[in-house]
């Protein structure tokens, strides 16, 4: 019984704050303290969501964005991962690339758009490129950090016991860096969605980022707020995914 309540508490406590906020907001809206036009009540937002959902618009926006997000995530994630590994392991690639990557990472997507359009046009490529760029760095930096911090003694042990190349990598370096890499993945799963709002300003007519920016343009506060909530949910979702992998891959650390 007690364990049961503890387990349920664990499930519900995290949602306490979001729901309290929602409730407070709804109450404030009802009492009229927040003017409807400016910040619609959660109930209105839900209605807007149902509306968009029933027309299929919401689902198609989300699924289009999801496609872009995943493509970008895969490309950027893999590149970031590979560079993180290389630079973490080899002194020479570290010297060659790290500075460049640290510089590249600091270029705002919004400022890059003119160049991205020049290079990739206004089609899907540019959108995916921007997502990839955004996802690259959290994964890069955490992979790099993870690899650099693998216990030197264990690497030495691995080498002495005849591991090298891929076997050293898969048996020692990767598992040793895994916990840090997962932080990078968690972060970049969020960034993946975030970047869409910038990349979908490039001549898009669908996608969740487009939906949000479009709503902002025409001051559809209910849609803006709905997009924000949707993004928040995706944030939680990326967290759940990352945690799932953590639980699986870091079992030994429990």
């Amino acid at each position: 019984m007690k364990i049961l309540t503890k387990e349920t508490a664990k499930k519900f406590i995290p949602w306490f704050l979001p729901f309290t906020l929602l409730l407070g907001w709804q109450l404030l809206a009802w009492t009229g303290a927040i003017p409807e036009r400016i910040l619609p009540a959660p109930s209105k937002v839900v209605i807007a969501a149902i509306d968009l959902f029933s027309t299929g618009e919401l689902l198609s926006n989300v699924s289009i964005s999801l496609g872009r997000a995943l493509a970008g995530f895969l490309i950027g994630g893999i590149i970031g991962f590979v560079f993180g590994l290389l630079n973490g392991i080899f002194r020479i690639t570290d010297l060659l690339f790290d500075t460049s990557i640290q510089m590249l990472r600091n270029i705002p997507h919004l400022a890059l758009i003119p160049l991205v359009i020049l290079w990739f046009g206004i089609g899907e490529t540019s959108k995916i490129f921007l997502v990839a760029l955004g996802v690259l760095f959290p994964i890069y930096i955490n992979t790099y950090h993870g690899v650099k911090n693998v216990d030197k003694g264990l690497v030495e042990m691995g080498k002495v016991y005849g591991l090298k190349g891929t076997s050293l990598f898969f048996n020692v370096i990767l598992p040793g860096a895994m916990s840090s890499i997962l932080v990078g993945i968690r972060f970049s799963l969020g960034v993946m969605w975030l970047t869409l709002i910038v990349s979908e300003t490039i001549s898009a007519h669908s996608g969740i980022g487009y939906m949000a920016m479009n709503a902002r343009e025409f001051m559809q506060m209910d849609v803006i707020v709905m997009s924000i909530l949707l993004y928040a949910l995706f944030g939680k979702l990326s967290d759940v995914i990352a945690r799932y992998f953590e639980d699986r891959l870091l079992r030994w650390n429990a």
Binding site: G153, L154, E156, G158, V160, Y161, L163, V172, P175, G176
Partner: protein, 256 residues
């Protein structure tokens, strides 16, 4: 199991090693014959582990050379396996997987055997974090043994084991060595252990070898053999006399 190893002799000449200002090894001269069992003793911090690391090729020497089978050692010594003083189990691998590290797939069955020999077959699927200190040490030992190396370097392999387990493990080591005749270098703080298992006991003092004592006892060794305690006295005497004023203790030990 393979029985005869090819030549695995080690020639060490004028070996020096410093860490920063601190000279640890100041000219080690040591020849180890193929199939010989050498034990190294010495005070804490005298450079035993360092010497083993140099033989394993984990660190470069500052001066001097190490020849393995007539070949100058540069980089990792591929014919050797070292069991580290600090165990170094991979925390993300279960016990059996830790023992399997670096084994070709075809020999993985041997890992289970080795685990049985160190008495931990029932822990094969545990994470290392769940083991006691001595259990971890035995897993590391099993890992070193299962590789069937030509040169086996052991850095205090039994330091965390109780009397009984320690004797069992010494017996295990001795019998494996008698079967396979690998060249073996054992670092230990236990002089009795050194005398009861090694062909030769080496004492490192002030960075050089100050005693190089062949143990000419028949095998299997009997601790009751009259010469056994003479060897121990000799070595302990050298250790305790030279560097300590506590003569009384030495005397006690010598008298016993």
């Amino acid at each position: 199991m393979k029985v005869i190893k090819k030549d695995n002799y080690i020639l060490i000449e004028g070996l020096k090693k410093s860490y920063g200002e601190r000279q640890v090894l100041g000219g080690i001269e040591l020849n180890i014959e193929s199939g010989e069992f050498v034990a190294i003793v010495g005070k804490s911090g005298c450079g035993k582990s360092t010497l083993l690391r140099l033989i394993a090729g984990l660190e470069p020497a500052d001066h001097g050379s190490i020849m393995v089978n007539g070949q100058q050692l540069t980089g990792l010594n591929k014919t050797s396996r070292i069991m580290f003083q600090d165990g170094r189990l991979l925390p993300w691998k279960q016990v059996i997987e830790n023992v399997c590290i670096g084994l070709p797939d075809s020999e993985k069955i041997k890992a289970m055997d080795a685990l049985k020999q160190v008495g931990l077959e029932d822990r094969m699927n545990d994470w290392p974090a769940k083991l006691s200190g001595g259990q971890k040490q035995r897993v590391a030992l099993a890992r070193a043994l299962v590789h069937n190396p030509s040169i086996l370097l052991l850095d205090e392999p039994l330091g965390a084991l109780d009397a009984l387990t320690r004797i069992e493990m010494q017996d295990l080591l001795e019998s494996l060595w008698m079967q396979q005749k690998f060249t073996s270098v054992l670092v230990t703080h236990d002089v009795e252990e050194a005398v009861s298992i090694a062909d030769r006991v080496i004492l490192i003092e002030d960075g050089v070898i100050s005693l190089n004592q062949p143990i000419l006892l028949p095998r299997p060794r009997q601790r009751t053999h009259p010469a056994f305690s003479r060897y121990m006295e000799e070595i302990l005497g050298k250790i305790l006399n030279r560097s300590s004023p506590k003569i009384s203790l030495v005397r006690e030990l010598q008298e016993s």
